[in-house]
Symmetry: C2
Subunit: 273 residues, 2 copies
């Protein structure tokens, strides 16, 4: 059996992508993974498509300074804006978080009504909706921009009992509940932290974690293409950020749900173009 | 009387600085003003000092590509992080929003207790507190970081009746009210939009708009140093941003409280170093 020792690259607009990193690392304990979080320019979710593409190109260019076999865009917004561009421009396979989550939602829905929660930029691009309509034209898709979810999560506000969380989840999810949706895609890698609060607003609905689905897709792809690392190898994790290393170290555990398991270094991302 | 036709440069991490721009333009109708909003890298308020200094240097370098006579940092966070650096590095006078507001608060307080509301970065630097203690050592200063004020304002959420606004203003301002403060510095140029909501939480307290005080200081400095533009000149306004021009155009009126009164152009700010 062929093995491939090259690393996997993962990037996000900041720290939210660590929820996908966590899943990827769990599926692929033998892989070396390099994560870049663009914390110096976070958040992408309210920026224009042109700016997101520019930043995503720089993020990918930095990660490609490592010897990569695959790149995962662990960010709903960058997946919407830059997946096709990076797939065309890079010599390695590039995955985003749209396809896996959409396929899973199409499998899960019984009533044929799926909601997509994501940043304003992602929703404006209708990427989840378009993909769902392509693979399963009968499904009705309700797309809902949740512009304040990222700021509240980044401020550690995701507990279902927090009045702020209750007001915002009710505001964003009341139309989802009223539409009789039974499956909800968390189209931003910050949102898994709000899973419980979201579930309380739409009881019984299945939540699809787009980062976790992307991690599954990546693992499957490596297996199929015989690009997996040798099973004797203990995978290493390295983290890079464009703002404070200390701040990233301090907050990472909230998203990984375990202590940070690798080195963190600063990178001058604007140099990569 | 001497006159000086060179322009005034103003920058902010994004769009909030327009509240200061509005005041500056009202005080100085004869001046040409060039505004740069770093909308592609907003917000500065949660970033590290090193990153804010780096960005502020680029912002200043871009503005200095115009023939400027004076630079105003219309951003509490960049004033905290980069005022001294820019004053040392630039050949023109540089003003921030800390000094004018602190002096005004020291004049206004009767009970000798002043609160400062600002972003987490600004509060971590204690710039308002340190300046107030220097000019008026008897004053007790209560510094309060309000991390979610900028995101809610940028999402158009500042009406005092909005439950989200009520929860956050009560959360951030209850300690201010309980401390018996009679004067509150709005240490971030986004906050004037929340003035009414803040006033309702701390009835009777005087609010000091740091952008407006900085505009007054600039106007006075021009008068004193005989650098004012000729009174026959009708001042022009030009705006530059690092993200979407259309988005800036669409939102500017909320901060200016009048329609945008000049051209808006995109600039690749990362090129200025």
């Amino acid at each position: 059996m062929r093995v491939d020792k090259r690393a996997i690259g993962v990037f996000d607009s900041g720290i939210g992508g660590l929820t996908a990193m966590r899943e990827l690392a769990a599926f692929l304990p033998h892989e070396d993974i390099v994560y870049f979080g663009d914390t110096g320019r976070v958040h992408y979710g309210t920026r224009s498509r042109e700016t997101i593409v520019k930043y995503a190109r720089q993020d990918a260019r930095f990660l490609c300074s490592f010897d990569l076999k695959l790149l995962l865009i662990a960010c709903g917004t960058a997946s919407y804006a830059a997946l096709e561009t990076l797939q065309q421009e890079l010599p390695i396979p590039v995955f985003g978080v749209v396809e896996g989550a959409s396929r899973r939602a199409a499998e899960l829905t019984r009533v044929g009504r799926v909601a997509v929660l994501a940043t304003p930029a992602t929703i404006s691009g209708h990427v989840f909706g378009n993909f769902l309509n392509t693979i399963s034209p009968g499904i009705t898709v309700l797309e809902k921009a949740c512009p304040l979810f990222v700021p509240i999560v980044e401020n550690g506000r995701f507990q279902p009992e927090d009045p702020l969380v209750r007001i915002l989840t009710e505001e964003y999810l009341a139309p989802v509940r009223e539409a009789g949706v039974d499956t909800i895609i968390l189209g931003c890698t910050h949102y898994p932290l709000l899973a419980e609060a979201i579930s309380r607003c739409v009881p019984g609905a299945a939540l699809v974690n787009s980062g976790a689905e992307a991690a599954k897709t990546v693992a499957e792809s490596l297996r199929k293409t015989c690009l997996a690392a040798p099973e004797t190898h203990v995978g290493t994790r390295r983290y890079f950020v464009s703002d404070s290393v200390a701040q990233f170290r301090q907050n990472a555990g909230m998203y990984l749900r375990h202590p940070l398991d690798g080195s963190v270094e600063w990178v001058d991302i604007e140099k990569y173009e």
